[in-house]
């Protein structure tokens, strides 16, 4: 029999820990996921911004936007993924399961984009002259498809987590695509004043406003849908609306990241003759910050369905 003295001695040791950590003791708690942190948030965020910017830059034939978008995806997003990985030298293994794994499919999308994007940029910026217009167009279309795929796959990665009700919502993939376009416009409008290229700002502002309104509506639809889903999804919604992420979500994402830019862009469109286009850049900056916060909220508020439901 172990004496009290012996128990005290063990408990006094500096390394003494509970046999089973408190967090694992009761399987009926609503726990948020803790595996994906800021680096993963950044990788998804940079992918969204980069692909959004790249696609818009293709439409508006904006060379700097193409290069920045490409670098954000290929260098920054991939860099963040490698940073998040505990064994980065094994990362090529990510290509093993494209048949079933969305992360693997996403990796194929990124590799395709990395190769085709380079050729597309070379063609479009005149670094390489191409006689065959059809070839250039095919490369452009395939790059655009790869970029769109990178934008979209993240939503399906989330949707696969059936035990995280909030991520399992069908609205999430649509919201991620919409937000990516929104952030693409935002970065486009932040970068555009620093270049000699001339863009039709009122038209850009109208499209930006459309993506902003769509994204805002999708967020409200998501919250409405989630509140009617599983208890873990409802917990996630509560965390965003009234819980520990309410400041970040309410003020950062909704007010500063969406409603304020909508007002700024609206004001610009109403007073287009008198107001400087730099107002759009300010709105863009706000959207970029709001987008990052939104990505954080989405990932951090992933609440697991408990193993055991408490009555």
């Amino acid at each position: 029999m172990i004496s009290n003295e012996a128990t005290k001695r063990v408990e006094a040791l500096p390394h003494y820990t509970r046999l089973i950590p408190e967090s694992q003791e009761i399987g009926s708690q609503y726990k948020t996921q803790t595996d994906w942190k800021l680096v993963e948030v950044l990788s998804f965020y940079l992918g969204g911004v980069g692909t959004g910017l790249y696609l818009l830059s293709q439409v508006f034939d904006y060379g700097i936007g193409l290069i920045v978008g490409y670098l954000l995806v290929v260098v920054c997003k991939n860099g963040a993924h490698l940073l998040a990985s505990s064994k980065p030298f094994r990362a090529m293994g990510v290509l093993r399961k494209p048949g079933t794994s969305w992360i693997s499919r996403g990796a194929y999308g990124i590799f395709t984009f990395a190769v085709l994007g380079l050729i597309d940029i070379a063609f479009r910026t005149g670094m390489v002259t191409v006689e065959n217009v059809i070839l250039a167009n095919v490369v452009s279309i395939l790059t655009a498809l790869a970029a769109f795929f990178i934008m979209a796959y993240v939503g399906f990665v989330f949707a696969e987590a059936r035990n995280i009700g909030f991520w399992n919502s069908p609205i999430i993939p649509v919201l991620i695509i919409s937000y990516s376009f929104c952030m693409g416009y935002a970065l486009f409008l932040v970068l555009a004043p620093f270049t000699a290229d001339q863009f039709g700002y009122p038209a850009l502002a109208r499209q930006f406003l459309l993506t902003l309104v769509t994204t805002t509506l999708l967020i409200f639809i998501l919250l409405t849908v989630v509140k009617r889903m599983t208890k873990s999804a409802q917990q996630a919604a509560s965390m965003l609306i009234t819980g520990k992420f309410s400041m970040m979500f309410g003020f950062g994402v909704i007010i500063a990241g969406l409603l304020a830019p909508i007002c700024l862009v609206g004001y610009y469109l109403v007073n287009v003759e008198t107001v400087s286009a730099s107002l759009l850049s300010l709105a863009g900056l706000l959207v970029l910050v709001g987008g990052l916060l939104c990505e954080m909220c989405l990932i951090y508020a992933g609440v697991y369905r408990p193993l055991v439901e408490v009555e």
Binding site: A84, S86, R90, R96, A107, N163, L307
Partner: protein, 195 residues
């Protein structure tokens, strides 16, 4: 596998047997026994719910792991190869049963560094990779029972072939109305709880 909830007394013998068999470092449990308290005073009931990898028929970890760390054998046991893991942790996200552990930082059990048995287990080489219950596949292939089943003093755990209608586990499931945890998620677990 069947887990008899009426027989489990929450002694954690299976948890310890699992730790000893797999040599898992502090904080890593391939097997856990949860407590559930129901009812209101004075009519309170405390039950114990042992959990481990459910070895699903449609395992989300196998499907979603991009590097193919997890695979399902023909006999239905879901095994893993830590040598392929690069630490995406998507397996932990998609597993509805919290069955996958991640070897974040492997610490020794005692302050004076790793003991000889810990060095033998070589958990340091598993740092940054995922791990989980594999039904003690090395024991099962040699005709032995998994360590948890062998150790359980109340015989709450039974291991056998679910595809064989004459096996003990199949009979128990039929007789006792065995159910799967979170069956609504469609993963079709191979672990049944006997109420």
């Amino acid at each position: 596998m069947t887990i008899d909830l009426k027989r489990c007394i929450g002694c954690q013998s299976c948890t310890i047997a699992c730790k000893m068999k797999n040599g898992t470092p502090p904080g890593i449990f391939y097997r856990k026994v949860f407590e559930k308290v129901t009812g209101k005073y004075p009519n309170i009931k405390r039950s114990y719910i042992p959990t481990n990898c459910m070895h699903c028929d449609d395992p989300p970890c196998v499907r979603n792991c991009p590097s193919g760390v997890f695979s399902k054998r023909d006999d239905g046991v879901v095994i893993y190869d830590p040598g392929k893991c690069y630490g995406a942790r998507v397996c932990r996200m998609v597993c509805p049963y919290e069955a996958i552990s991640f070897f974040e930082k492997v610490e020794p059990y005692f302050p004076n560094g790793f003991t000889p048995i810990e060095k033998y287990w070589d958990n340091a080489s598993k740092e940054g990779t995922a791990g989980k219950c594999d039904f003690c596949i090395d024991r099962v292939t040699t005709g032995l029972q998994p360590a948890c089943v062998k150790t359980c003093p109340t015989e709450a755990l039974k291991f056998g072939d679910l595809n064989d209608p004459n096996s003990d586990v199949s009979k128990l499931i039929l007789a006792r109305g065995g159910y799967q945890m979170h069956a609504e998620l469609g993963t079709n677990p191979s672990v049944y709880y006997l109420p």
